[in-house]
């Protein structure tokens, strides 16, 4: 089997400062990769380089495209990369306001990607949007309400619906449960877990919450100062961390 995403030697510098350095890994179809590390360790920088939001300074991000097979998304043309961004990829931001159009109805938010890929039947678009609201446990009667009237947990679920409506194969998530109440987090995690399983999604999820990776991630990378210091199966890394920093992290000394 060829990897869905093959990351080779990705580095990103902010001037002389390291954002992330020499990160390599493969992600296979259906896998969920967790990226953990303390604040400032380079998780978001790495994720944004992988998702095409930031140009890396070194390295390749090879994605197995539907039409042309493996392609380096760093060097492909911007229109191609942006097309992937609204079809085969999804990106769930920590702050819903970064991932939603707050002035547009829930239905319009979910429908945007459909319209972006050329759907032109209002009834169909609205029907799919309503289906997706229900799949993320938002009452269909809220389809015309704006996300500003939604709770934090609902906004996050709406963001997920908006991203998954075009049937992407790879989902990037940056602290998707950050800033939510614990009980709201649990519901969201259950939902994400169900969707990943039902849709056979592959995902890369950044978090500083080890409970989240324990629940969702098959594999884990631990980052420190921009570098991956340890990687492996989630249970292995969490139960038997090898690197001193991972040990600290797991022993919750570093957990905030």
């Amino acid at each position: 089997m060829i990897p869905l995403l093959s990351v080779q030697g990705i580095s990103k510098y902010y001037g002389a400062h390291i954002g992330c350095k020499d990160v390599s890994f493969d992600l296979y179809p259906g896998e969920v990769m967790g990226i953990v590390g303390e604040s400032g360790s380079g998780k978001s920088t790495l994720l944004n380089c992988l998702a095409g939001h930031l140009p890396p300074d070194e390295g390749q991000v090879v994605f197995d495209t539907r039409t042309d097979g493996p392609r380096d998304t760093v060097t492909m043309s911007e229109p191609e990369r942006r097309m992937l961004g609204r079809t085969d990829w999804a990106f769930v931001h920590q702050h819903a306001r970064d991932g939603l159009r707050m002035g547009v109805s829930a239905g319009g938010n979910v429908g945007e990607r459909l319209m972006a890929v050329g759907e032109r039947n209002y009834g169909d678009i609205r029907g799919k949007a309503t289906d997706w609201l229900e799949r993320v446990e938002i009452d269909a009667s809220r389809v015309d309400d704006r996300p500003i009237t939604f709770s934090g947990g609902m906004q996050q679920r709406l963001q997920i619906a908006r991203n998954l409506v075009t049937g992407p194969r790879l989902v990037f998530m940056d602290e998707p449960t950050g800033g939510l109440d614990v009980s709201v987090q649990a519901r969201l995690l259950d939902l994400i877990r169900g969707l990943v399983r039902d849709m056979g999604l592959s995902a890369i999820m950044v978090t500083h919450d080890l409970a989240v990776v324990r629940l969702l991630a098959d594999r884990l990378m631990v980052m420190k100062s921009g570098r991956v210091v340890e990687a492996g199966l989630t249970d292995q890394v969490l139960d038997d961390p090898q690197h001193a920093y991972s040990q600290l992290l797991v022993s919750s000394v570093l957990q905030v």
């Binding site: 911007e78 229109p79 942006r82 609204r86 159009r101 002035g103 547009v104 109805s105 239905g107 319009g108 429908g111 945007e112 990607r113 319209m115 972006a116 890929v117 032109r120 039947n121 209002y122 009834g123 678009i125 609205r126 389809v143 015309d144």
Partner: protein, 286 residues
């Protein structure tokens, strides 16, 4: 008629007019594309259509005949002052007759009478960017245009239908030009949209405050955006004109008395007048 020699012909200096003409030519070469230009201070407020005035200044020739319409009428303060501005600074002949004009500057309407290849229609544009409603970042809208990412335009129409049950946008209704650029046709009623396409006259759009010029060369394809199940409709008030009886012209509703009496009349006053002169009579005509 001679113009006031205190000014250069049509007020702007030759270098500025050349710069604006270059922008116009570029606009004509890439229909619907918003060309940036260095908008000049004009001796009138922005709301008065300084973009249109600068475009008119750049295309007017001494032998031209100039007409100005504001919401279809030639006699509003705005229309009168722009007309007299060019009378004074360019010494051009002016007219209220659509068919006599070689350059027509307009705000909010396209004349009912079909224009010809010998005419230029200049629109005053307040907001040239059709995507701004949902995406305020200029860097992002520029990218969307260059990559033809126009899904957002349909989000706006989707929102319209979800809120009102139909596409309620009735002015500045977005269009796609030559299957490439999405364009704001300026705040003309959507009734006028079908006239934008395949028009024999040159159409130039000037936005002064926003410093943009765009253009439609003659016989350009212009399609109003819509959904399969909510097709575009060039709607107007469902009445004949009270004065000339026209059933094919865009109507203004006029309150006639304190008792709530209303009258629907052609918004294009020249069109209405010509019809009445030709003997057509509406039910409210005296």
């Amino acid at each position: 008629m001679t113009h006031d020699t205190e000014y250069n012909f049509a007020y702007l200096d030759e270098q500025t007019k050349r710069m604006i003409r270059r922008a116009i030519l570029k606009g004509l070469a890439v229909p619907g594309y918003q060309v940036p230009f260095a908008s000049r201070e004009m001796p009138m407020p922005y709301g008065w259509g300084t973009g249109g005035v600068q475009v008119s200044a750049a295309v007017l020739m001494p032998q031209d005949t100039f007409k100005v319409i504001d919401q279809g009428a030639d006699d509003t303060t705005n229309a009168v002052s722009i007309r007299s501005f060019f009378q004074r600074t360019a010494g051009v002949r002016t007219t209220t007759a659509t068919s006599d004009a070689s350059v027509i500057q307009t705000r909010h309407r396209i004349p009912e009478e079909r224009l010809t290849e010998d005419q230029i229609l200049v629109y005053q544009v307040p907001i040239p960017e059709p995507l701004r409603f949902l995406e305020p970042r200029e860097s992002e809208t520029r990218k969307m245009h260059s990559l033809e990412e126009y899904g957002l335009m349909h989000v706006k129409l989707y929102e319209d239908i979800s809120r009102h049950g139909h596409i309620a946008t009735s002015y500045a209704y977005p269009v796609k030009v030559e299957e490439r650029y999405v364009m704001d046709p300026s705040p003309i009623p959507k009734f006028d949209n079908p006239k934008l396409g395949n028009m024999p006259a040159i159409q130039l759009f000037g936005a002064g405050r926003e410093q943009r010029i765009y253009a439609l060369p003659p016989y350009t394809s212009v399609i109003s955006l819509d959904f399969e199940d909510h097709p575009f409709e060039a709607s107007k008030a469902d009445h004949p004109c009270g004065l000339c009886g026209a059933i094919d012209s865009y109507l203004d509703e006029v309150i006639t008395d304190d008792q709530g009496g209303r009258l629907f009349v052609c918004s294009d006053t020249d069109y209405c007048e010509n019809r009445r002169n030709a003997g057509h009579k509406g039910k409210d005509a005296a």
